[in-house]
Each structure stands twice: as C-alpha cells, then as structure tokens.
Symmetry: C2
Amino acid sequence: MLKTQITDLLSIRYPIFQGGMAWIADGTLAAAVSEGGGLGIISAMNADGAYLRGQIALARRLTDRPFGVNIMLMSPYADEVAQIAAEEGVAVVTTGAGSPVRFMPAWTDAGIRVIPVVASVSMAVMCARAGAAAVIAEGQESGGHIGEATTMALVPQVVDAVDIPVLAAGGIADGRGLAAALMLGAQGVQMGTRFLAAAECGVHPNYKLMVLGAADTSTIVTGRRFGGSACRQIKNSFSRNFSKFEFSADATAEAVAERGVGALRRAALDGDTKEGCFLAGQIAGLVKKEQPAAEILREVAEQAESLLKGTTQWIV
Amino acid sequence: MLKTQITDLLSIRYPIFQGGMAWIADGTLAAAVSEGGGLGIISAMNADGAYLRGQIALARRLTDRPFGVNIMLMSPYADEVAQIAAEEGVAVVTTGAGSPVRFMPAWTDAGIRVIPVVASVSMAVMCARAGAAAVIAEGQESGGHIGEATTMALVPQVVDAVDIPVLAAGGIADGRGLAAALMLGAQGVQMGTRFLAAAECGVHPNYKLMVLGAADTSTIVTGRRFGGSACRQIKNSFSRNFSKFEFSADATAEAVAERGVGALRRAALDGDTKEGCFLAGQIAGLVKKEQPAAEILREVAEQAESLLKGTTQWIV
C-alpha cells in the first residue's frame, strides 16, 4: 500500500485524483474513482448550480467515500457553484482557470480542503498563503487549458516554494509517472487522460477511440496567439482549421474565442471526430484500453509500488 | 554509488551526460564533466573540422576519461565533423537537429557509441534500427531547439518503443529529476542548463547570471510559427522583439531565420543581455549557484541515491 501526505490528509487509499474535466467528469465517473480508492472529482464546468447539485447527489448515491468538485473560475456561474460546493460540504474543491482566493474563506469555513490547480510557482505561493490544503502543479503536457511550464520543471520548483503538499498533473498515466512524481517531491498525482478511458466515463465512444488511437505526437496546442487560452487537444480537422484561422491576418481574440464555442460539446456529447475539440494530454499515447476506474487505480498504484520497492537495483 | 545500463555501457561513474550546447560546450567543460565522473560532450556546433579537432585535443590533455562529441546535423560542416569524430575515435557521438542515420555506419565501424537526441517515438525507433547504442529522449522543457513532447510524456513512450537504453533530457537539474527519470524507465539523464552554471563553463558571465536569475516562467519558445525551429530561451528584449516580428503580417520563414543569425554568439561570447539569445531550459529556476562540474555531478547523484534509498517511506 502507498502512503503519502495526501492519502493521510484525505483518508483515501491511493494518492491519485481524477481530473475535473469539463463535459466529462460527472457524478458517475467521480463516484467510480472514489469508490475505487482515488479521489473522484465532478466538474462544475460552465453549468448552473442545479446541474452541480444533481451530480453531487448522484455521486452520493453511488459512493460513501469522499470526492471533490472542480470549479472553473471563469464560468459565468462561478459564484453560484462556489456557494453550492460550500453548502454541500464536499470533501475537496479543486479550481482552475484563475485565482480562487476570493472563494477560499467560504470553502475553508465549510471544512472543505481547497486544492487549486496551478501552472506557476507564483500562483502556488498565492494559494498556499490564502489557505489551500495542497496544490496541484499541472504541467502543459496536460489536456485542456494549460500554462507554459512542464510537469518535470514545474513540480520541484513548486515543492521548493510552498510548505503544503503538492500533487503533480500532466503527462502521468501509469505507475511510472506516479513514482516519478513522488521522486520530484509530489505527494500524489492527478490524471485526466487515463480516466477518459475509464469504463464509467460516459463520454461519447468516439472520444475514447481518439484517446486510445493517439501517439506521442497526436496533440496540438491552440489558443496561444492571443494569450490566456492555450488549450491542448488531439489533432483533427477542427484543430487544424482553428490553428490556421488563429494565425491568419484577420484573426482577433474575439473571433478566435467565438470559433471555439460548442466544440468541446461536439466532441464529448456528439462524438464529432471532425468538428469536435478532443481535449487530451500528451500521455494519451500510453493509454491503450478501456478499463474500470478501480482497475486503473489499482494498476497504477501497484506499478508505482513495485518501482519504489525495486530502487535498490540502481545502487551498488 | 548509482549503477545503470548507461554507467555500465560507457564505464562512467554517474549516469549523467552534459548537453552538447552550441557556443558553450567546449573541450574545457566536457573534460571537467568527464573528469568529474559524468560524460562530457563537446559541441561541434556550426564550426569547421579544425575547431572540433582542437577541442578534442584540448579535452584529451585535460582528462583520460571518455567524452563525447555532439554533431548538429544541419551544420554546413556536418559531413566534415562527422568524419573527424570517426577518425578521432571519441567514445560517444550524440546528434541533434535531424536524422543521423547516414553517418551511423562510419561511426559504429569506428567503435563509437552513437546516442542520438530524439524528440519523438518515431525518431527513437528509427535510430534504434540504425544501430544507436542508446537514445536521449529530450522534452520540450529543454533549452535550445526542441520538439513538442515533454519529458514526462516522452520518456515512458520511448522506453516502451525501443530495446536500447534511454536517457532523459529536459527539466532535469537535480537529484529529484534524475531519480524521477529512472522511475520513468530511463537509464540516465542529460543536463544542459545546470552545467551552464559550472565553474568550468567558459560562457560569458552575463549568461550565467541570466540562468541564475531565472524563475519557472522565465523562458519562452520562439520559432514555432514556421515550424522546425522552435527554440527555448530566456525572455529578454531579443526574444520579445523576435516573437513580435515572427507573428507580424509581413514575416516570412526566411526573414525570421535571418533575424536569429548571430544572436547566440552575442549571448555566449559578448554577454549582450539585450540583443543576445540566451538558450536555457525551464528548469533554470532550480539553478542557484555556480559550482565546479564535479561538485554538480556528486550533488545530483547523491540526492538521487538518497531518494532511491528512501522509497520505503511511501510503502505501508
């Protein structure tokens, strides 16, 4: 059995979070991950409070174990869903796409462990000062909205800068990644792409096929030209056209943003392999099959444990 | 003491290569690294054969231990320096910026271990088939010319694809990075940025100050617009102007390439902090002081060894 500051802090079996992927991470997936011994996370995405309440209720019907909610801070419903997370008293709130500082008193007063996703040392330090229980240092190899620093570079720099536990995210899909993250100073990991292929993940089957078919060079980052909205996804017709438009002479920040509207929904719900935007990390190339979430967790943890036990092979 | 397939293969004390940085990695630095127990590497850069012969002779006066030569395959002198490497019978040739396949028979006939730097699984497989003794899987967090995949994502995917030893490069500057690389399946690492701050590194003092002053967000990648020349460097006036020009309406691939000419020389030789191009990796934020190469090697290896011995803390 693996034991870290994160398994202790949250009383979970494995130091593994499931990323709060918008349009994908619902109550069913989160419950399956938590029931399997990790920390499942429901994405509040851009939906209203009723959606989040429904997903929390669903997860609670499926598991007695702790789970989390991810709040996208640029959601138009951010205030509403932040309030609901506090009222519902979920075990953990993770945050992305901005600074969670203004919501933190309400969450910590409700006894919630706040664990923001951060892409830089400065954001990690700010969150630690504001009362975060831990931070998730997410490298740009992750799927979805990303920063610039990679996991290998970011994690040790964040570990050196804060006194709270750090989880690593980005580029991690197996026990090698988990063991490597621990060596970098992390106390756990968050995986998104691997859980896209969980049996309990209700995303359109074509999305899973895109992930299972990906290689090391299958992702591309769009949204870099105008800053602030860099987004990693699997290369397809949508991403090619988006990139071409983004760097065309008449592109504006507004026109580029407009072009992205609905694309994630077309991927996750409709399985539109041409016009959908299939967010996934560079580690998709390691994800080879659909498996129950509990099996993914066990496999990752057992591989990491075996590697950690075998380190004497390197020493003479 | 650490022992891996790479320490065995090359009869070196530490599984640590020093990156073959153009304008920086000369015979003096390479000899200091090899004398310290790692594998020092001389960059043949864009110079002619006489330069390389001189640096090899210099290194041989300074150390009896094995060292390597890095051949930049797009150098106008690539054929000449490739031939000289074979004639001189250096222990190792590393290659970058292209496919080394056409030179490999000459090198392997000369008993040289050929260890190409690769940025993708497909290039790793091609090099393995052509007779490479190992490959260096280099993530895009590295300084200088880079690919797309990050170290965390690339290394395990390359390890799964080839039967030869893999070294990890990119984002590694201390023992945490080395231990993490071993967990990912690598048999050693290559570090560039950390050795920029070696006492024996003859780069202009301003270059070292730029590295020592860097934080996690201090680098930027230029050269992505027209493909094939993405280049990570420390943000300064040069990089800002270059980026702005690159994405301007009238930029062409030729004009962009032209604008880069001489910039690395202005950094490494002249220490021109405004108009020089200071290549460095994202891990520069971890590099805090100038130290002799031997001390760097010992410190990195001892920290990794300590982490590898301490893994039982994670297991209950």
